[in-house]
C-alpha cells in the first residue's frame, strides 16, 4: 500500500502503483480541490507540487509520488491566505473557478523561486494552464500583485533583522 506524504501528513492509499496521483488524492483522500480536466496533461487543472515543483497529478503515478513531499491546494497555506490566494480574491480572478486550484499551484511554484518575475516569465510559466472562462488577464495581474506583496513582506523581514 503506497504511502503518500501530502500537505505534511503521511497517508496510505489503497491504489495500484500505476494509479494516477490525481485519483488517489480525489477519491481515496477525498481532497477534491485538485481537479480532473483532461487526464492527458494538457490543461493543468490537476496541478500539485511534488518537492516544490508544479506537476500534473493526472500524469504522475502513485508509485512515483510515494516518498516525496506532495502539496495540494488544500495545503498551500494554513488558512487560505497565501499571497496568491489573497491576490486572487483582490483581483476577483475566478469565474467558474474550476481551473483555479491548478492555476494557483502553478503560480506558487514560480513565485517560490522568483518573487520578481517579468510579465513574460509569468506568461511562459503559466502557458500550460487553460482557463475556459478566459480569466488570463486577471490571473496575470494577481500573480504580479502577489509577487509584489511577497517582496514587500520579505523586505520588511530583512529590515527587522538585527544588524
Amino acid at each position: 500500500m503506497p504511502v503518500l506524504n501530502i500537505n505534511g501528513r503521511n497517508m496510505s492509499v489503497e491504489a495500484a502503483n500505476d494509479t494516477p496521483l490525481l485519483w488517489a488524492i480525489r477519491e481515496q483522500l477525498q481532497m477534491t480541490g485538485t481537479k480532473f480536466g483532461c487526464g492527458a496533461g494538457l490543461c493543468g487543472a490537476c496541478t500539485v507540487h511534488i518537492n516544490g515543483e508544479a506537476v500534473r497529478s493526472c500524469q504522475t503515478s502513485v508509485s512515483d509520488a510515494a516518498g516525496k513531499k506532495i502539496t495540494t491546494i488544500e495545503g498551500l497555506s494554513a488558512k487560505g491566505d497565501h499571497p496568491l490566494q489573497k491576490a486572487w480574491i483582490a483581483e476577483q480572478v475566478p469565474q467558474c473557478g474550476y481551473c483555479q486550484s491548478g492555476q494557483i499551484m502553478q503560480a506558487a511554484a514560480l513565485l517560490a523561486k522568483n518573487s520578481n518575475p517579468t510579465k513574460e516569465e509569468v506568461i511562459d510559466h503559466m502557458d500550460g494552464n487553460l482557463c475556459r472562462c478566459m480569466t488570463y488577464s486577471r490571473i496575470q495581474k494577481a500573480i504580479m500583485r502577489a509577487a509584489s506583496e511577497m517582496r514587500t513582506a520579505s523586505n520588511a523581514a530583512t529590515e527587522r533583522r538585527p544588524t
Partner: protein, 472 residues
C-alpha cells in the same frame, strides 16, 4: 441578429398569486413566498414547512448572516452573488453579512417569469430583479416594524443601513441580529401588498451598480467549492462511459466483458436504454474507483450497428449544404427585399466569397458528470446543470419513475456555455446506479466530452455575393 423571446408577464407570473411571508423559523428569520393563505400567519407556516412548504428565498440567522437561496445555475457568471446583491439593496444589509446557497429542483425555486429552472440567455437578472427586490424590501419592512415596536418609536423615523436599524433622534439602534433574536419580526404580505411596495429609485441605490466582491470567489481559491464532480456519497462507485463511433443512432450489438473482468474492482458493464436518443449506443463501465472504471472501459469489446448516421462526416454535411444551396426552388429566406437578380445584372462588379466554419464544441473544463443515488423511492441526482427542471424529468425517464420522485441537487458548475443545458449525463448515472444497486458517479473522459457534445453544427456553406455599383 439576436431577437429576444417575448415574455408574457401576465401568464408566467406565478408569484402574483402567492403570499410573501416573513416569520421565525428554526434557523432564524425566514423570508419567502408561499401558497399558504395569509390569515394563517407566517410563523405557523414556517413552523410547519412540511404542510405549507413556503419557498425560502433567504433567511436571516440569529447572528445576522443573510443566506440567499439561488435557483439559478452559477457557472462563473456569479449569478448567485447578483441575486444576493439585489436582495441586499432593498433589505439594507451589509454586504459582508450576505451568503449564498444553491437551490434544489423543487418548483418553489422556479424562475418567477419562466416558471422553470433554466439558466441561459443572460436572462436571470432581468427576470428575477423585481421578485428579488420585493423580497428584500418586504424583509426590510418587517424588520423595521419590529424595531419600531421594540424601540417605541414611529417607523417613519427609522433609518436602515448596514444590517442595522437606527433611530437618529433617540440614538437607539438595533442590528438585524438583535431583531431576529427578539422573534418579533413577523409579517405577511398579500400579493397586492407586495406589489404595492415602493421600491428604491435608481438614484437611491447603494449596492446596485457597485462592484462588490463576489461571494463564491474565496471558495474557488482554496479548493472548497463543490462542483458536481466533487460529490462523494457513502458506498459510491464510479462509471466511465464508452461511446460508439457514431454520435446519434448507433446501437450496441454485443458487449464482451471478459477482459474487463480481469480489472480489479470491475463491477459491471451497463448498456444504456435511453428514450431521449441522446446516448444511443453508450455503455457504462462501473468499477470501485474511476481509475479502474477507465481501465475496464478500455478493456470492453463492443460491437455496434452504426445506424442511419454511420456514414455521416464533416465532408458529407458540407456536400449536403452545397446541394441545398444550389437549389433555387427550396430553402427559406430570412430577408427578401428588392430584386437581387436585376441588381446583380446591372452591377458594375460582382464580388463573391464562400465561408464555412467547423463543428464547434462547448468544452467546459469540468468534464460532464452526474451522481445518482436511490434512497427509498427517491432518486437523488447531484450534478451542476443549467436546466434542472428538464434534467430532473430526463433522469426520471431514465429511471422509469415519475419526475416527482427525482431531487436534483445543484452544484457549482465548472463551466456551462450551454453544454449543461443538456441532461445526457443523467442517463448513464441513473441507469448504472439502478443496475448495480449503489450510488454511481459517472464522469466522462475528455475524449467522451469532445466526441459526444451537442455540437454547434458546421455553419454549412455561406456564399456571399455583393453587387457593387459604379461610384457616381
Amino acid at each position: 441578429m439576436n431577437s429576444h423571446v417575448k415574455i408574457n408577464q401576465a401568464e408566467a407570473a406565478d408569484l402574483s398569486r402567492r403570499t410573501f411571508l416573513v416569520g421565525t423559523a428554526a434557523a432564524g428569520l425566514a423570508l419567502g413566498y408561499s401558497s399558504v393563505p395569509a390569515m394563517l400567519g407566517a410563523d405557523q407556516a414556517f413552523a410547519a414547512p412540511s404542510n405549507f412548504d413556503p419557498s425560502v428565498w433567504y433567511s436571516i440567522a440569529p447572528d445576522g448572516i443573510v443566506t440567499v437561496t439561488c435557483g439559478k445555475a452559477d457557472m462563473g457568471q456569479h449569478i448567485a452573488s447578483t441575486m444576493a446583491q439585489i436582495i441586499c439593496e432593498e433589505l439594507g444589509a451589509n454586504w459582508k453579512d450576505m451568503r449564498v446557497q444553491l437551490a434544489s429542483n423543487d418548483p418553489k425555486f422556479n424562475d418567477p417569469v419562466l416558471g422553470a429552472q433554466i439558466t441561459g440567455g443572460s436572462w436571470s437578472t432581468m427576470m428575477n430583479f423585481d421578485a428579488m427586490s420585493r423580497a428584500g424590501a418586504a424583509g426590510r419592512i418587517a424588520l423595521t416594524e419590529a424595531a419600531a415596536a421594540s424601540m417605541g418609536v414611529p417607523v417613519s423615523e427609522l433609518v436602515v443601513r448596514d444590517s442595522a436599524i437606527s433611530h437618529p433622534k433617540s440614538k437607539k439602534s438595533m442590528t438585524f441580529a438583535d431583531i431576529v433574536k427578539s422573534g418579533k419580526a413577523t409579517k405577511t404580505f398579500t400579493p397586492d401588498e407586495l406589489k404595492a411596495i415602493k421600491l428604491k429609485t435608481p438614484d437611491k441605490y447603494t449596492m446596485i451598480g457597485v462592484s462588490v466582491p463576489q461571494l463564491d470567489i474565496p471558495s474557488k481559491t482554496n479548493g472548497t467549492a463543490k462542483y458536481g464532480i466533487d460529490v462523494m456519497l457513502p458506498g459510491m462507485v464510479y462509471g466511465k462511459v464508452v461511446t460508439p463511433p457514431v454520435r446519434y443512432g448507433a446501437t450496441v450489438k454485443s458487449v464482451d466483458d471478459s477482459e474487463a473482468k480481469k480489472v480489479p474492482g470491475f463491477i459491471k458493464a451497463v448498456t444504456l436504454d435511453d428514450k431521449t436518443a441522446t446516448t444511443t449506443g453508450w455503455v457504462v463501465a462501473v468499477a470501485n474507483t474511476y481509475a479502474n472504471a477507465r481501465k475496464a472501459a478500455d478493456a470492453l469489446k463492443i460491437s455496434y450497428d452504426g445506424g442511419p448516421n454511420a456514414k455521416l462526416s464533416s465532408e458529407s454535411l458540407l456536400a449536403e449544404a452545397k446541394r441545398l444551396q444550389a437549389l433555387d426552388d427550396s430553402g427559406q429566406f430570412f430577408v427578401k427585399d428588392g430584386d437581387t437578380a436585376a441588381a446583380f445584372g446591372t452591377a458594375a462588379k460582382v464580388m463573391e466569397a464562400e465561408y464555412t466554419t467547423n463543428i464547434n464544441i462547448h468544452a467546459p473544463l469540468e468534464p460532464m458528470n452526474a451522481t445518482a443515488q436511490l434512497q427509498g423511492d427517491i432518486w437523488h441526482i447531484y450534478s451542476g446543470n443549467q436546466f434542472a427542471t428538464r434534467s430532473g424529468a430526463i433522469a426520471a425517464g431514465a429511471a422509469g419513475v415519475d419526475p416527482k420522485f427525482v431531487v436534483m441537487h445543484q452544484m457549482w458548475l465548472g463551466g456551462g456555455f450551454g453544454r449543461r443545458l443538456d441532461a445526457d449525463m443523467m442517463v448513464p448515472a441513473v441507469q448504472a446506479a439502478k443496475v448495480v444497486g449503489k450510488p454511481v458517479k459517472v464522469i466522462y473522459s475528455r475524449e467522451n466530452d469532445m466526441t459526444m457534445d451537442f455540437s454547434r453544427p458546421l455553419s454549412g456553406w455561406a456564399a456571399a455575393s455583393a453587387g457593387v455599383s459604379t461610384p457616381t
